[in-house]
Subunit: 349 residues, 2 copies
């Protein structure tokens, strides 16, 4: 039974509560902090996009197509579907000689409500570029195009079906994920992700280990260690592209820069690399709630572990103890990290 | 510790899970089924709108303003903000000699994504009429206008501040809620709801009792019993107006008519009256998830307790064991009532 990590209060009582588990691990696979069941396989979903983007750099595709920081950040993104995200994804595909018709992620309206309304009021057609995963898929397609070039094959034909587990592109992505997590993915539970690629069930401790490796480079091959550092630096320089306006990941990395690399996934999964501490973080909220539960947990983790000045501490506290207001702007309650969650870090500070 | 009532599966394993509590009570206050903690105070939120609409009928306002079934259903609604909802709320206000400037519920974009996009692409201004509670508030204002008439006061001035607990209108609403639930609301936790009216913390058993009374009229005053029956009948005739396109409440009542009156509330609260069984139902999902948890629980309750033919049973099963598809239409998992939840009803059937 996992502990309650986040509470929503109203009228002085707890209205709702979120249980979950948390693993914080160093690059030598030592568990520094843990709460709840950290051994159960958890579908990592979009939280591991940075691991899935490693081949984009290690393959040479990032250099071959002269990808910018914005484009590398978008390859790690669950983006809002704002105009800049869409244009950047289109630009990545154009560099590889492709267009949006190569994307196999499916189509959905922009997740950002304002972007959705702006698109609805415009003449721009909705397309797979608006899918929050379009940058990740554009990255996969860049890898595929380079593979096709190397073997003298037609790129457009070669990349078809790249979302399937047995495609050469997806095999590279899965190999990178396996190397980073040390998980035997051939034995792991496997599901289909929202964007149609395989997603693997991996214990939180292994996910946290992978992010400790992203933070430090320890136990990664030299190429993967360099790639991880480059992706972290790109996201720190262009955090808008990893999420977008109003989003937790963007706001935190805009504020804290390279001190934190964090990435939300679906169903309450959230991972982070803390380079200064050499730590990886992996969170899973039992009920799958991201925006109001996993984010609050991550904010409390950052507050407890990352070097912050007073203003930064206040900024993070507003994300770990969130004032809730209603449609008239009246304060109605709070979303807050529980005392139990905060206590997990007290002994070590 | 409340039991797991709903699971989300992917790749053959449970990805996320929702805990909660459930009380099913008859009109003589006998608990027929219960799971989890049914005594903890739960903010009833929008699940009790039908109780809050009783004064609209008992005061004579529904007759004085010749409200239609659609308007009475809207007074009980958390609506989508679709054009018909907005026009109906405006019509109720016009009948009372008011307009949208009297609404104190605040403004938000339509909850229905298609309605939101249509509004964004139109020249219609966003207003408080689009708030999902605008019908409930229009009902409150009808009550207030009749009160003002009776005392010879200016209606527009009299109704100002009607959302406050001490306003004569809100006192009537609270009195109806207290009478139906048998809860002493002067001693109950009180919070501010999304639309700025007070919301009270009430145990699930008391909420379920109130809905058993709505189902049967037992232990309500004769006027309230008639009002409850009239509101149930109005919603059964016009279920689109209690929610809207694609919504659980609308779909279920379109299909099952007067056999079920169900109403979702915020934060995973869900209540229902089952007239043929003489039962009331109250559900609270711990983590506050409505759309994919409280609804699945309610579907399982209806499946277990309501008289259904084979087609109706299949229809309800699709709501209690929901196939999840991704953006490419690929089946990725399911949202389903747990065996533990279904077992709660087996002994009695």
């Amino acid at each position: 039974m996992n502990p309650i990590l986040v509470e929503a209060t109203r009228g002085g009582i707890v209205e709702s509560a979120h249980r979950g588990a948390l693993a914080i691990v160093d690059a030598h696979d030592r568990v520094v902090h843990a709460l709840g069941d950290t051994q159960r396989p958890v579908f990592a979903r979009s939280a591991v996009k940075v691991l899935q983007a490693l081949p984009l750099v290690t393959s040479g595709a990032a250099d071959a197509f002269a990808l910018t920081d914005e484009e590398l950040a978008l390859a790690c993104a669950s983006h809002n579907g704002q105009a800049q995200h869409v244009a950047t994804a289109a630009g990545m595909l154009a560099k590889a000689g492709l267009d949006e018709s190569a994307l196999e992620c499916g189509v959905h309206w922009p997740q950002h409500e304002v972007a959705q309304r702006e698109l609805a009021a415009s003449t721009t057609p909705l397309s797979a570029l608006h899918n929050n995963c379009s940058g990740k898929h554009a990255g996969f397609l860049c890898v595929g195009c380079l593979m096709a070039r190397a073997s003298g094959r037609d790129a457009r034909e070669f990349v078809r079906g790249y979302v399937r587990a047995e495609h050469p592109v997806m095999r590279e992505i899965t190999a990178a994920l396996q190397a980073a997590t040390d998980a035997d993915l051939s034995q792991a539970p496997v599901g289909v992700d929202g964007c149609s690629i395989p997603t693997f069930g991996i214990p939180l401790t292994q996910l946290a280990l992978a992010f400790a490796r992203v933070a430090t480079g320890v136990s990664l091959s030299a190429e993967r260690a360099r790639a991880a550092a480059r992706l972290r630096a790109a996201v720190a320089k262009a955090p808008f592209y990893v999420a977008g306006s109003g989003r937790f990941d963007t706001r935190v990395m805009q504020r804290l820069g390279e001190r934190v690399f964090c990435k939300v996934g679906a169903e309450g999964v959230f991972c982070a690399a803390l380079p200064e501490q050499g730590l990886g973080v992996a969170i899973k909220v039992d009920d799958g709630n991201n925006a109001r539960a996993a984010e609050v947990v991550m904010a409390a983790v950052i507050e407890a572990l990352v070097r912050l000045d007073d203003d930064e501490r206040t900024f993070m506290r507003c994300l770990s103890d969130v004032t809730l207001k209603n449609w008239n702007g009246i304060e109605v309650g709070a979303l807050r990290a529980t005392a139990g969650l905060r206590a997990a870090f007290v002994a070590e500070r």
